[in-house]
Symmetry: C2
């Protein structure tokens, strides 16, 4: 029996197994679920051993990592799969139409917490590998699986783990399925992620709130000052005015522009999706370029003075803002943080005090568009889905993918099988049963395609 | 016995009586003190009747008003005194060095809640009138006393009361002692108050918080938009850029400039008082002109997006700000609110929604500097304090004083006997025993001086 026939013949079995996996309430952010998270790791570990991988549960400072491999000296290529077995919290529970840890199939979708993010997507690769091993063939590539348990709780332990196990994790390419297709029935290969830099700024005027009648007109108002600083960061065309901000930004390549221009865009649908009266972005770029290929600066929160009902006639003592910038190649988070700091200090008048905290960031991620990996992934997806994938990018950051590049020197293929409206972090999370199936076939094809890449 | 001798001979008695007045916890803002407020009004009413006035407790929709008068057809001039018998809450109680409603004298100061604001200051006029009546002379003027019980809880009932009793309250001049001297040992006549206008603005972008990675660059950020709107309201010299804002502002008169220039100003002391690194105000004006004679615009509070610890990479759905403007003659609150509304709408891009709420305001107050009243008050203060008063203004607003002008058509003499550091709304409120004394003598002299003014 060849691997594809094995997949054909075991459809119900892999759904049943996924349901077993989904029944663990492996909510990493909630301490009351610590034991459930551990049990989920152990189930996964046992399952990976059962299908023929060499798997173990490895401790971290937080929830454990499941690490599995199957290595054959004959194979030239090594794939490192990354995924996570932990899930988001389920609150608000009363909005769920069926219990989050009792998976059901309805209208062609699997409903359960973790269905798409990431148990279901991860499981397609487990089943793809199993199809090879169960069919009596050995794998044509070496495989390593790194499956963490705190992706949803912002743990930094995975980066530490990668650092500590850099030799063990050596590979040629990384595969992650933890995102979405471009659209329903339109699979995609994601060839880039934006990075992020995060700073906080606090402007301090008087050492306490002052009466705005008694003192207004003579003392600096930190909210007015902060507003002027924030306003100084963009021009009317949405371009960022921080000195040197664009120095390392490359022009969008012809290939990239061509890929993005191919994607259908309906302004009215997009407006409805974001719920805005109008759009506003950097002039001279399409929306896909604005959200994927161009850097941004957004204030995520601002606070200062009296915020309750009614009024309070004060000049507040201070005001502060949280600011993140989304970065593109080759902007570096530390460099950009230094540049915004310099901008703030240059625009901050000397009659107030200014405190700036530069938080860590994450670099952007680019999958080389000219090497063999993207094309191999695209062929595998076309085989699995029966649809040619598009090439797209993602505006958010996946810090661990940036860490794979910086620590291991490896590129990552981002092959999302989910859909944008899968409710990944909301009640009634779902995953298309058809996409689960097609993902398994695509995973199988991916192993074959990647084994043919010259490394 | 003449009135002055009566004051000389009854020093301890008037302190004892003030202490009785101070022992009532007449905290108007706390419903648990409603009965204490009523008892305080009744004590005051009884006291005013005892000294020879015709006093009554009159209901309002909130706490009652104490209204007293003594009218003699022979007198040409009528003085209306305004004050309040309610006090601020006492919290935080643990910071009080002696119980707030057990008055004590220490180092020449009376310590108690209400000592300066306003029971102590109000009581100087009660004792000044008593000195006349007890000495066997009748008063050379008609007097009316309007003493309210919810000045400290922002009640609007007093304005309604004034409206309903406009005929009863007819007078020639109003006297209020509920503020501070220019400095210790430097009494003052306050010849103007700034007005106030208050608006709230809310900018709405997406209909919910959006992921700043997924959408950043394509949708408007309400915090960035609001900051630009706020920044558009001032130029670098601190001048307000709202169209027509200064249209009705009169140049500072030579007389006023001369009075303010006479007042000593020490920049370092002022900086220490406001606790700021530096000062910032409208270029071309002194600090006294900035805080008393020029209009201002201050954001009192701003809020939007994520304000907790750490970061949250969102484009917030909305951001809002509370903005007050301090007004000078002849700016009208309604007109100024309309002008800032027009400015905000003109500066608000059409890709966001904008909600503006115009709250009520209060007009500025000017005591005519050329009529006889200011000079009469100045002579009385010099008699009572033995020190020539300065002429100053106050940057805050006293809405009831603006209402006296608009409803009754009457000017108000603002004769504060307090000191800036009396802790009027803080723990350990105090009132100088010497100023209490000097205030009584000044009040006595004021009756005589005002009786001589041609009306």
């Amino acid at each position: 029996m060849d691997p594809k026939t094995y997949l054909d013949n075991h459809r119900q079995q892999r759904i049943d197994e996924l349901f077993e996996f989904l029944r663990f309430p492996s909510v990493s952010a909630r301490s009351e679920h610590k034991e459930d998270v551990r049990k989920c790791a152990e189930w996964l570990n046992k399952h990976l051993n059962k299908i023929g991988l060499d798997s173990q549960v490895m401790p971290t400072a937080g929830h454990p990592v499941v690490y599995a491999s199957r290595l054959n000296p004959k194979n030239k290529t090594t794939i490192l799969y990354y995924g996570h077995y932990d899930v988001q919290p389920v609150e608000p529970l009363d909005l769920w139409k069926s219990p989050p840890f009792e998976p059901v199939v309805k209208d062609g979708y699997i409903y359960a917490r973790g269905a798409t993010d990431d148990k279901g997507q991860l499981f397609t690769h487990v089943k793809g590998l199993e199809a090879f091993l169960a069919s009596g063939q050995d794998l044509p590539v070496n495989v390593k699986l790194l499956i963490e348990g705190e992706e949803e709780s912002g743990g930094e332990n995975i980066v530490e783990f990668v650092n500590q196990n850099a030799d063990r994790l050596k590979a040629d390419i990384i595969v992650v399925s933890d995102s979405s297709m471009f659209d329903k029935n339109q699979p995609a290969v994601t060839f880039g992620l934006r990075g992020v830099a995060f700073v906080e700024v606090k402007i301090i005027g008087p050492d306490r709130d002052l009466h705005s009648g008694g003192f207004g007109g003579s003392v600096p108002n930190p909210i007015n000052v902060l507003s002027r600083i924030i306003a100084s960061m963009h021009d009317d065309d949405g371009r960022i005015l921080i000195d040197g901000f664009y120095d390392d930004v490359k022009p969008i390549s012809d290939w990239e522009k061509k890929q993005l221009d191919k994607l259908p865009f309906d302004k009215d649908k997009y407006l409805a999706k974001v719920g805005c009266k109008g759009l506003h972005g950097e002039k001279g770029y399409t929306v896909f370029e604005q959200i994927w290929s161009r850097p941004t600066l957004d204030v995520n929160g601002i606070t200062g003075g009296y915020q309750g009902e009614g009024g309070k006639t004060i000049i507040p003592s201070w005001a502060s803002a949280k600011i993140t910038m989304r970065l593109v190649p080759d902007q570096e988070p530390e460099d950009i943080s230094r540049k915004i700091e310099a901008h703030i200090l240059a625009h901050c008048p000397d009659y107030v005090e200014c405190e700036i905290v530069k938080h860590g960031g994450a670099g952007s991620v680019s999958v080389p568009t000219e090497g063999p990996w993207l094309e191999a992934a695209a062929r595998a997806i076309e085989t699995g889905f029966g649809i040619k994938p598009v090439f797209m990018k993602e505006g958010g950051s996946i810090p661990v993918v940036a860490a794979f590049k910086s620590i291991l020197g490896l590129d990552t293929l981002l092959l999302g099988w989910g859909q944008n409206d899968d409710n990944a972090h909301s009640p009634n999370e779902k995953f298309s049963l058809q996409d689960f199936d097609r993902g398994c076939y695509a995973s199988l094809a991916l192993v074959e395609e990647l084994s043919k890449v010259e490394v």
